[in-house]
Amino acid sequence: MYVAVKGGETAIARSWDLLAAARRGDSALAELSLGQIRQQLRLAVARVMQEGSLYDEELAALALKQAAGDTVEAVFLLRAFRTTLPRFASSKPLDTAAMRVRRRVSGTFKDVPGGQILGPTADYTQRLLDFSLGHGSDVPPCALADSGVPQPLPSVLEVLAAEGLIEAEQPLPGDPEPADLTRQPLMFPADRATRLQNLARGDEGWLLGLAYSTQRGYAESHPFAGEIRMGEVSVSVCPEELGFDIDIGEITLTECQMINQFAGSKTAPPQFTRGYGLSFGEAERKAMAMALVDRSLRAEELGEAAHAPAQQQEFVLYHSDNVEASGFVQHLKLPHYVDFQAELSLIRTLRAQATPSSPQEAAHD
């Protein structure tokens, strides 16, 4: 009978077994520990935390292990878990100027107060496969960069701000609490805080592509990397019942301030404008892409012509989420025989009625 298109409990249970076996691989090899993933795949862990919008290295490592390294699937697992967590407080705005900096570079000034600090970057590694990693090697201990880095490190853009050459970064009047996109639907037009939140959760690949498009002529964008900094920032909350701030821990962040040109408008003199990017963990590509896209989404606010995809709020924000995109694209593998049957009946009706003369009549219409 027609059992081929039906899937019962047994088939699903069997697919779970196969999945578990495939995940584990050869049982003669040692199983991955969450500690190993956290320590040795830290960038994958960071990406899962960003797009899963949950800062928890242990859970992100667990998700990566369960998803066999599939980042989007790991993000999905983490987000579904996140849904069940109570929301008991919002943090105070993070003070990234007070970051314990491990890396800070500026593309705009040769030297900046505090200096350029390369930190742990792959930028100058020439991407040669290091075959010595293939058989395990102990890295000699390295003196960590706490030698002479002034803390806190002043922000590069303050130099321009002091001269009034760059727009001031001011909270909106009344400093409204930002919308929480995990609790409220995205509505348009979306204010900048909402857009930044969406971009921070957005798929890195999508943002990278859009950011790239702004540099290839699909939006008028001539940016400079004003400052990129990475390091540890403390998070504090002010519980209503206490009435004072308490420090609840420290997280690793990457922040990017892009500097863009702006010719001025009727109300504003020519000055530099900002694009902003922020991501959990070490994630420079994501933070930079976010900053480029943030700036291009400000086109309307700054009175610029908006005709490129990266300048269209609805286009950028609605399609930025990889968990939404992945689910909807892959829903095509669910059966559609009811609607396909409807289309099949229709096309047969249309074909049955089509006589040699009718296409010409249609053409006259």
């Binding site: 242990e58 639907p185 992945s326 669910l334 009811v338 609607d339 229709l346």
Partner: protein
Amino acid sequence: MTEACHSQWQYNFAFLDENTKRMLRRALLKAVAIPGYQVPFGSREMPLPYGWGTGGIQLTASIIGQDDVLKVIDQGADDTTNAVNIRRFFARVTGVATTSSTAAASLIQSRHRIPETPLRPGQIMVFQVPEPEALRTLEASEVETRKLHAHQEYGLMHVKLYEDIARFGHISTSYDYPVMVNERYLTSPSPIPKFDNPKLHLSPALMLFGAGREKRLYAIPPHTRVESLAFDDHPFTVQRWEQACALCGSHDSYLDEIITDDAGARMFVCSDTDYCQQQQEGKA
């Protein structure tokens, strides 16, 4: 959090926390009060993929109680993978009784079909909706479509249907066929075949629609007027088959076409597996 703390995690009844369920129920009350109007809601991320029923699952989770009897169908059938999976999810996180019988269910979550067995007062249908905006294929911008709804400006859709007739001699929409709800809102009936549209009109059951990815929900309360768009000289019609169901002999149900061998032989059977079963037992 430590690893030990994570491993002791307990899920709440129906997965969602009580505050989220309350938010959903408030949005549902608004939806029922304004039939056909798309209410934005704070859709949560669920452990099943977007596009696979997250909207319907959230609505079901927000209204399901200990005493409910849940039926889940996909394409009309109780035994397709997605239906099995969603039913298993609710069994796991609520422990409520599940059924495949339309008559025995108090709550029916559906993808793409309304059961053939007539619904009765007190039953609730929850539809999984991939695309809640009936005008989306005609107008890509959400800002614009919300304006069109506000002004009850549905000329675009009438023009589209007219153009179909001009080109094909027929309206070429066979599922997700647009309806006017309570003479006010143009509404997507979710991708049910137009065969099922008449079952929405003056139904004694409450119809709830949830779109998780698009973060919109809407409702058709019991006994509400639901009209499928049409023209006086091109009235609304539904699909008909020359064949009867090969299993139960039904002439009045929606049929799936099943290819039975490599030579292209085919048979037609009810897409509603429960209805088909009832018909077969009735004959026996």
